[in-house]
């Protein structure tokens, strides 16, 4: 059994400093119309191949950050650059083109329940198609074949023609990942992809995200609540607290004090693995 217990992480936990910057967040702030300051002057760069995990308590702005990275929320100030191109200013067709390079996996997968699994995966190709073809679901045979292969790879081949609404939570999430991957993105955003999944399913999903991202050299940014999971996969951890980044570094640097600062709670009061409780 010992051979199954391998850390999924590549040996070098820091990214080659030479890799190019894929995503650049520059002084981003977001104040919602009700006055909530969800992000306060957040800046960081992400390079190709990094696997970044964002942690932080509820309401610290993790989701808001994610959603500003593909402009599902418009930031109040600052700029987001994807592959050097500004997302903040793009509009219409250019916005669509940038968005297609940033894929997103949501907490509840957000599939269209009445469509088949295959159709849901193929939605990932819409950004690459002409409007008319996309409207009527006239996907190319090549795209369809890719989708079928991808579904087989994630072991959902036999559920291809099921309605998405009929799947279990973990299966839905796998479809969500396939939809993101078929988009052929540079950046993969995942917002709490394993919240409320059971431990065996969580493992499958995290492994899948990790494996898909590394094998395709996609940069991943993942929001998580589980610190131990974060430590197991991340090449870099960003800790948020009240809309600000209070930690940004390799997992090895995440001390108990830092965790306390992020969660504003003594470590003893957190439901985390024993190994994090003392000094590391």
């Amino acid at each position: 059994m010992a051979d199954t217990i391998v850390s999924p992480k590549p040996l070098e936990t820091t990214t080659p400093p030479g890799a190019e910057v894929v995503l650049s967040v520059q002084g981003v702030s977001k104040t919602y119309t009700n006055g909530t300051k969800a992000l306060r002057d957040v800046s960081f760069d992400v390079r190709r191949g990094e696997f970044v995990v964002v942690i932080g308590p509820s309401g610290s702005g993790k989701s808001t950050l994610m959603r500003s990275l593909n402009r599902l929320v418009d930031v109040t100030s600052g700029a987001v650059l994807v592959d050097g191109e500004s997302l903040t200013k793009a509009g219409g067709a250019r916005l669509r083109a940038v968005r297609r390079r940033v894929a997103m996996v949501f907490q509840h997968a957000n599939l269209v329940g009445r469509l088949t699994v295959l159709q849901n995966v193929l939605h990932g190709r819409l950004g690459h198609m002409g409007t008319l073809a996309g409207m009527f679901g006239r996907y190319t045979e090549a795209d369809k074949q890719t989708a079928v292969d991808l579904l087989r790879e994630i072991e959902l081949g036999e559920h291809m023609y099921n309605r998405a609404a009929e799947l279990s939570g973990g299966q839905k999430q796998r479809v969500g990942i396939a939809r993101a991957i078929i988009q052929d993105p540079s950046v993969l955003l995942c917002d709490e992809p394993i919240a409320s999944l059971d431990p065996s399913v969580s493992k499958v999903i995290m492994d899948m995200i990790f494996q898909m991202a590394t094998s395709r050299n996609i940069t991943a940014i993942v929001n998580l609540h589980q610190i131990d999971v974060a430590l197991r996969y991340a090449t870099r951890i960003i800790g948020m607290h009240k809309g600000e980044i209070v930690f940004d570094g390799p997992p090895a640097d995440l001390t108990a004090e830092t965790i306390e600062r992020i969660y504003d709670t003594p470590v003893g009061e957190l439901m985390i693995g024993e190994e994090l409780r003392g000094e590391r």
Binding site: V102, F106, V112, R114, L115, G127, Y161
Partner: protein
């Protein structure tokens, strides 16, 4: 939390309140408004609920003596009239729902490609919706002549206003998440519509479509009474002479059978189509090999949505076929006579305040009818509905019985109910109040039962798990949990009753509708314009108030 609400429990002698001061004040205020409005309108109309209750047995006696035994005079004629009325309902619902879908796409802020146009679409829908269908019918009949084409236009307009709002609300709910997801993928607006909104929305679309068919059959009957033809026109003739009443009853009963059949069919379709059985989907799972048809990979399984698609296809085919019985209508004139409408609207807009006094007193009567019938029917339904709720009553016979009586009452056109009430209760507002109370009680029973049955099982279970009994579970969980649903329906029905009472005047029960009818017949459009404006302003203010109350207090 303000300091005063926290301080109270600490005072030793004081009783601990269960709700906050703010909430208590809101409920006190709401109760005061309702009691105040009831008292005021009781005073204005002189309606005596006890006398009404006491008069009920003799009312039934009169109805029995005049209307029974039901007879059918001319079966072929009746059959043709029924077909025409149903055809009118089907075609107008089809056209209205297609138009409303397009309007809702623009009007729904979450998905609109033209956010700036959203308020305009909503505004137009509001304008259309807040003028009763029958007023539209009268305006259109006056401007564009008579016949099915005008009845069709009036019904379509009314349904359009209603459906646009309903669709916008559904779209806000069902597709926000997935539409956003497709936006994140880089999909364009038409792609989002076809790939996310349409599939997510099918369910609600079918539900609303079926609901509107039912409502439109009633609407088509009443529009028919005014000049639209069909069974309403026939009924109008049969009500004309006292000795023809049994014929009218025969027609009503056959209409009731038809409506109940449509009702059963639609609720069967609703459950069948909208909640496909678990057994079926489990069976589907086995047939899962990749399907390649003519060298192309299939993205759906053939027959996957067979039932829903079949239904949509049948509905479309039937609605299109429904143009056949009314094919002789002068459809072309809807376009050629359209300019006449602008003249009539212009004449209406040349407001004439010379009959203001009478308009105002009639308006107060209308208000009285609306307020009192809503209050009394809500009270009656609160008492009746628990006995028709399947997760409360063990024996299913009671609920079934209550539901079918309610459906029968809802079938009888309001004007006929009012006519039946004139004999025992005399003229004026009393028969109007009684007629509307009856029909809205039937309505409330149905929606309250739906609300109770929709309370999540988990909530009910949590209470059962504490050892609470059925009555306790009902009062502590189901009633509060469906409160906002009930308040929303009561508000909506008040709007409907307000417009309904405005309409009743047009067929014989006084109120502001009488002024409109009389003025239009006397070709005094300016006077009618004032009355319509009054109705619109009030209905619109009511809608805004209800929306605000819902937003602020009834989350």
């Amino acid at each position: 939390m303000s300091a005063d609400t926290l301080a109270r429990p600490q005072a030793p002698a004081a009783r601990i309140p269960l709700v906050s001061g703010q909430e208590r004040r809101f409920f006190t205020a709401a109760l005061a408004v309702i009691v105040g409005a009831t008292a005021l309108t009781t005073w204005i109309t002189g309606f005596n609920p006890l006398a009404a209750l006491a008069g009920m047995p003799s009312a039934l006696g009169f109805v029995a003596a005049d209307y029974l035994p039901p007879t059918v005079n001319n079966g072929g004629l009746l059959a043709r009239a029924l077909v025409e009325t149903v055809a009118l309902a089907l075609t107008s619902t089809l056209v209205a729902s297609a138009l409303a879908f397009l309007a809702a796409l623009i009007g729904c802020r979450a998905v609109s490609p033209l956010p700036w146009a959203a308020p305009i679409v909503r505004g137009f829908a509001t304008l259309v919706r807040n003028i009763p269908d029958l007023v539209w019918a009268v305006i259109l009949f006056t401007a564009m002549g008579f016949g099915f084409h005008v009845g069709f236009a009036a019904l379509t307009l009314g349904t359009f206003g209603f459906l646009t709002r309903a669709f916008i609300e559904s779209m806000d709910e069902v597709s926000a998440d997935t539409t956003e997801t497709l936006a994140a993928v880089g999909a364009s607006f038409p792609q989002r519509v076809m790939q996310s909104i349409v599939p997510s929305f099918t369910k609600d679309f079918i539900a609303w479509f079926l609901y509107c068919i039912e409502v439109s059959i009633r609407g088509a009957t009443i529009v028919g009474m005014l000049g639209g033809g069909g069974v309403g026109m026939l009924l109008n003739g049969e009500l004309g002479l006292a000795r023809w009443r049994p014929r009218a009853m025969g027609t009503i009963l056959i209409l009731a059978v038809l409506v109940i059949a449509v009702d059963l069919l639609t609720s069967y379709l609703r459950t069948k189509l909208l909640n496909p059985s678990a057994a079926r989907s489990a069976a589907d799972r086995s047939e899962s090999a990749l399907v390649v048809r003519r060298g192309r990979i299939a993205v759906t399984q053939r027959g996957r949505d067979r039932e829903v698609n079949l239904f949509l296809l049948c509905a479309l085919a039937l609605s299109l076929a429904a143009f056949w019985p009314i094919r002789d209508a002068s459809w072309g004139r809807l376009l050629t006579d359209f300019p006449h409408l602008s003249r009539t609207l212009f004449e209406l807009a040349s407001l004439d305040f010379s009959a203001w006094d009478r308009t105002w007193t009639s308006f107060l009567d209308t208000m009285g009818i609306a307020v009192l019938s809503t209050v009394y029917s809500a009270i009656l339904a609160l008492l009746i509905a628990p006995f028709a709720t399947r997760n409360l009553v063990r024996n299913p016979v009671g609920p079934a019985l209550i539901t079918s009586v309610a459906t029968l009452i809802r079938t009888i056109p309001n004007p006929v109910l009012v006519m039946m009430a004139i004999a025992p209760f005399g003229l004026g507002v009393t028969p109007g109040i009684i007629g509307l109370t009856l029909s809205s009680t039937a309505f409330f029973v149905r929606v309250f039962v739906q609300g109770y049955e929709d309370v999540p099982d988990e909530t009910i279970e949590a209470l059962q798990a504490t050892g609470a009994g059925r009555v306790q579970v009902f009062l502590s969980a189901m009633l509060p949990a469906s409160r906002s649903h009930m308040v929303a329906w009561i508000g909506m029905r008040f709007e409907m009753n307000f417009m309904g009472s405005a309409i009743l005047g047009m067929v014989g029960a006084g109120g502001v509708g009488g002024v409109i009818n009389e003025a239009v017949r006397g070709r005094q459009f300016g006077v009618a314009g004032v009355a319509i404006l009054l109705v619109f302003v009030f209905a619109f203010a009511l809608e805004l108030t209800m929306a605000k109350v819902k937003r602020t207090y009834i989350r």
